[in-house]
Symmetry: C2
């Protein structure tokens, strides 16, 4: 029996023992399908994201514990962006021969930690050998009452535009990793172990505050573009209000480079949402309850799909490259 074949059954047995129980998951790993019973009347939300070696990550830049955490988080972030409660994750791994058992264990440790912290359980998946590189594919299932699901299409002119946390850290970390520069751990972790804003997303949805929402994975302008397109509206962004972390500011870069990075950097996994002006107070309360800064960065306008950027009352030029690219041009 080959390493990979033996590996599959060993991995599944070990993982099964580490999976938590859940009232929603009637049957997890161990049959042809997992069986879930969602709370009556709730809609099912489903999202799938891959992390491919040499496209989305490099094993010489990330530990397997971090990679496990990130693999769960980037999928949970999509559930958060629609306001869903995470219920179950499914994990498919194609494992190259040079990945040792301890690395796989670390990956699962990180993955299960973030999965369980979100309230979801690992309910199934697949493993295979890989001839070239580690491939990770995760499907995340969540649920929410129909009235509490937030789409991209609900933004209205006059709505405020908000973002959680800080922007640009992850893309700076990625650039410095590429340049071989030493990184402050708080910046490095923002790239290697991003946090999905699950509780904040759920709170913004449950309260009816968010009129449209998306997570910032491709960069603020790119992801805002999706909201503008789906909602047939435009946006004016106060660039000087974009939230920057103290770690990002401490790099000493000039303001325009920092703000360009905040406008275009990807993989921050913060929530970008719109809300009516009356929601200001409630948003402050959700920020406080979640110990998570939420910053108003602009206003939705009528001009369909049009961006206007302002900086201290003046026009601010649109960055040339609006999209975010992984180091090997993967998407």
């Amino acid at each position: 029996m080959s390493r990979s074949v033996r590996g599959e059954f060993e991995i599944i047995t070990q993982i099964k023992e580490r999976c938590q129980a859940s009232p929603v998951v009637q049957l997890g790993i161990g049959d042809d399908c997992a069986i879930l019973q969602l709370p009556p009347g709730e809609l099912l939300l489903s999202t799938t994201d891959m992390l491919i070696e040499s496209v989305h990550f490099r094993r010489d830049w990330t530990g397997l514990l971090s990679l496990g955490r990130k693999s769960a988080a980037v999928n949970l972030s999509d559930l958060a962006a629609m306001g869903a409660t995470p219920r179950a994750l499914f994990l498919a791994l194609a494992i190259p021969a040079d990945l040792i058992a301890e690395d796989i264990d670390l990956f699962f440790e990180g993955f299960l930690e973030v999965c369980h912290d979100s309230g979801a359980v690992l309910a199934g998946g697949d493993t295979s050998s890989s001839q070239a590189g580690l491939s990770i594919c995760v499907t995340a299932l969540g649920s929410a009452p129909a009235t509490e699901v937030v789409r991209r299409s609900g933004a209205k002119p006059g709505d405020g535009l908000y973002v959680t946390g800080a922007l640009g850290d992850s893309s700076l970390a990625l650039q410095w990793l590429g340049e071989g520069r030493a990184l402050p751990p708080e910046l490095l972790n923002r790239h290697l172990e991003p946090t999905a804003r699950v509780k904040a997303g759920r709170a913004l949805a449950r309260s009816g505050i968010a009129t449209a929402m998306i997570d910032v994975s491709d960069g603020l302008l790119a992801d805002l573009g999706h909201i503008l397109k789906a909602s047939l509206v435009g946006a004016c962004i106060q660039v000087d209000r974009l939230p920057l972390s103290s770690a990002l500011r401490a790099t000493g870069d000039e303001d325009s480079r920092l703000f360009d990075r905040a406008l275009t950097g990807g993989e921050d996994y913060e929530l970008l949402f719109t809300a009516t002006p009356e929601s200001e107070g409630k948003i402050a309360r959700i920020a406080s309850e979640n110990s998570l800064p939420i910053t108003r960065i602009g206003t939705i306008s009528m001009a369909a799909e049009e961006f206007v950027l302002e900086y201290n009352g003046n026009m601010y030029p649109l960055p040339l490259h609006r999209g975010y690219k992984h180091f090997s041009d993967g998407t």
Copy 2:
């Protein structure tokens, strides 16, 4: 903008236009998550399967149309094995640079054809570039009333053991492909484009006939082993009753080699199930209604996890290698 980045948006737009509507899928491709509303009271069934280049397939052996069909079918087969109605598929593709747009189109044509034939719709996924080989990861979601879900654990001593279709074709085709031998198309297609027994699985579940069920992906003995373990029973197989296709018989191999292949060959994606002796007539009707042979091949016994093989009343030796291996030992 790189080929792969441009590719992603083009692919998504084109695919979106080709996706069908479904009353279950409220929102398909185009937001952070897909939104599904399952029929009230039905359970959700979910399964994930990968197809990795050089592990599960070789591009010099399969066309992309066939590969698209197979990628959908192997996942639908897991839903069929629990009696679920397919609802939505999610498709993640890591695409190498040497795969041209026409190939990707063919893949989607095959995938969508099998997806739609099953009654499901493509509701989301992910695309990425790949540094090495095509990786395909599919998650299939289905649903069924709680009383109609068939697990592996319900087999009882005295139950008959049944299998749909014929066994061994796919593994012979794989062997001959490896040896560079010319193949009759009906054998080749059994490997390259297996059929998920979705309607038969649903009928066996809905009628309450199947007491335990699994699909034969790893080989009859290996998959029967899962039923025996989950149900804490044994099985006696009448090897001479194993259903062989006329194409397999026409190879002129001696009987013992044909039956060994039927016992251990993988990827037939037939349904293996157990049923009480009273169900004989109903099973014949389901076979007739689905134009699909269903053969009784043995009986469930009390001897936990014990296989007994008989051939025309005599003992038949257990094949040495019970599991099925892909050509590169992937699982």
